[in-house]
Amino acid sequence: MSKLAFGDQYRTWKVDTEKVPAACGLSGVISEDGNRMSGDIIIESMRVIHDRGNGLGGGFAGYGIYPGDADKYAMHIMFEDAAGKAACEAMLEDELEVASSEEIPTAPSDAIVNPPLLWRYFVLPRGEKVKASGLADDDFMVRLVMRINTTVPGTFVFSSGKNMGVFKAVGFAEDVGEFYRLAEYDAWTWIGHGRFPTNTPGWWGGAHPFNILDWAVVHNGEISSYGINKRYLEMFGYECALLTDTEVMAYLFDLLIRKHELPLEVACKVIAAPFWKDIDVDKDAAEKELYESIRMVYSSALVNGPFAVIVGYSGGMFGLNDRIKLRPLVAATKDDRLYVSSEESAIRQICPKPEKIWAPNAGQPVIGQLKGDV
């Protein structure tokens, strides 16, 4: 476990770190009917796959946890010190209407050391600022988050969606969950992550999930195409400040689904593109043209290399493997719930008798969709 103070971790990460390979354990569960579950469930699931992490990062995201403030962006921010907090808050006041703010409740424990200051803010962009920027609210928020994360020293926005929140730290996943008192939150989707980074000290901000707006991504893998995916995203104004694969994945989904308005299944075919040998023999001419066009137009968004991801978003949760399935991913269903995890054991721990349990094929998304308005 990292003994470095938060600020030292931050500087090490920002200054010395190149792209960080990592391996990991993932788990996620959604109630498609929108029934909320206490955070216990995801902590228990992650506890079983303790050995897939090494204590250098754990985290969770829950959806539906802030019903009282569901219309506002919930910003979770970590600060090295009061000075960074003051600088950041001045920026927030300038750009946003801050409806309320509070320290994120934690249960201090020996397992989680050197925590930064952890605060959350429920905000809306100031109308005149949005108007002047010529951006939509969401894009305005994306830009602000990027600006804070790249310009305010020792400060990191780690959650910025509505009615959802990311909770992460340096530590084993189950300890992180208890530290953040997740049992006290109820969510219809939970995703969790235990991290096994291979060449750096852990850093609080570098734990998963990675988040932008309501996208939260937990990821096991190393993106061999990282360099071009990053440069592709930069064309659209995304700054990959953290140099991690997972950040790239989060921004890609945001770009493809929110900005380019591609259906989720099509976005997955961009990221885990079908092989030409399969496209070439496709008998359906329209489908063939669709896949050929995807590969021509979005060649730089193909995510190549081993990965398994679980992505949470406001409409649901999905799991996806790389195009040749080089990392494990298992899915199961029971009643209104879909489970996705790195290991069957993590599912059986919280759902001993699933109706169906299977290993999804390479590049085939497993999608759990929230029904109607919740």
């Binding site: 190149e18 792209k19 390979p21 990592a22 391996a23 291979t198 893998g221 190393e222 061999s224 195409s225 990282y226 360099g227 071009i228 990053k230 440069r231 592709y232 930069e234 064309m235 659209f236 900005k259 380019h260 308005e261 591609l262 259906p263 299944e265 099509v266 593109a273 092989f275 030409w276 040998k277 329209a286 489908e287 043209e289 669709l290 050929e292 066009s293 995807i294 590969r295 021509m296 137009v297 979005y298 060649s299 730089s300 193909l302 190549n304 290399g305 081993p306 195009r323 040749i324 080089l326």
Partner: protein, 500 residues
Amino acid sequence: MPGNLVTSEFLVNVDHERCRRCKRCILNCGFGVFDFQNMTTADSSKCVACHRCVVFCPEEAITITRNPLAFREHSSWDVDKRKAIWKQAQNPGMILTGMGNDLPWLNVFDHLLIDACQVTNPSIDPLREPMELRTFLGRKPDSLKVERSNGEFKLDTKVGNNIKLDIPIIFSGMSYGSVSLNTHRALAIAAEELGTVMNTGEGGLHRELYPYRDHIIVQCASGRFGVHSEYLNAGVAVEIKVGQGAKPGIGGHLPGEKIGREVSSTRMIPQGTDALSPAPHHDIYSIEDLRQLIYALKEATGYKPVSVKIATVHNVAAIASGIARAGADIIYLDGFRGGTGAAPAVIRDHVGIPLEIALAVVDQQLRSEGIRNWVSIIAAGGIRSAADVAKAIALGADAVGIGTAALIAMGCRLCQKCYTGNCSWGIATQKPELTGRLDPDWGAERLINLVNSWSLELKEVLGALGVNAVESLRGNRERLRALGLDQSTMDILDVKPAGR
């Protein structure tokens, strides 16, 4: 006074004990080195070290050595500089040469190293798993619009005309006139077999090769040689040649001796006249003029992709951006090591910048302007191996063009005397007794073998990198490291030093 102060570069020696006096060497030498007076004699002053005689001598009786004649060493006045002065003092004029820049400038490719996977991500075995090299050249939209209807997905965006390549390697433009028809035939046959394209160069396309239209890019250069509407439609794309890496800023000169009947009718100029292509296009004096020609060619071809070929000069990034905005679908970057049939040595050796650097800044410029999808980039002029192909793609090229490498595959020894028209290998010549030496099928087979070998090697590199599609290497500079480059060059290339 002596007429010639320049001493021979090479010495030709015939071993008379081995020589059977078969006279093959006399027949084979395009430069008239050999003669026969009771025994085979050699005039070393004419030898260019093209090795034709050596390869065809059945007794291995011929050896060619560098003339060991000692010169007093002088680190500033190397022998080539002294020889150039003797030549010009005797015959006023520019010193002509052929092929690419031969000075020992820093070769950036040779200072770049490629990454590979270990433990944290698995490498992929290209012999067991699919490894995709398919590449499309041309403009692509920035995004697709896909509607969901009744559980099906409906594509509402039409991607325009693109050239589909099975491999990211094409044959660069070498004009009929500078090279023989048999050379063009070999390139066309190989391009078809390989699923790629050849570029006509600026001399038009012999009608016999029109059936290969799906594998040809036709060029429209400043001389407009052989350009007519049927020709423009005899390929998958049209290329406007603005400049050439070996001779940025200057035109071309094909001497009248090379303009025989077939070249004359293909180029649409009288037999025996010099074919002079002007330095600029006289209808392109600015970027908006280029736009007009691009769209005129699109109108003439039913909107096939239009490529614009430029030499890599200092301001190449801004120029490329202008070309993309002028409506081009492909930008063909020809680096300062690019080959030529004839160029003044002063230009070839001292004008322009390395392909590697130009490629990096053009790709980055187009990205920072958000217009990278508008154009494909072909990188050419100095691609010598599959390693160079991989590195060029990692720096940002969609595909590479090979010219010199293709000629070497067909026997060229890089003697750099293309401009004499005496090519003993039947490549850069129009003399019937020489052109017949290159069998197009033999040439095509060697080209196919070469490109297939490079494809295998490229797949091996991709597999080691843990990716199974060439687009995951394209522009992925994270997988390159520099060894022995200065900091500003690394910054420009956007490549980290080895160890970081």
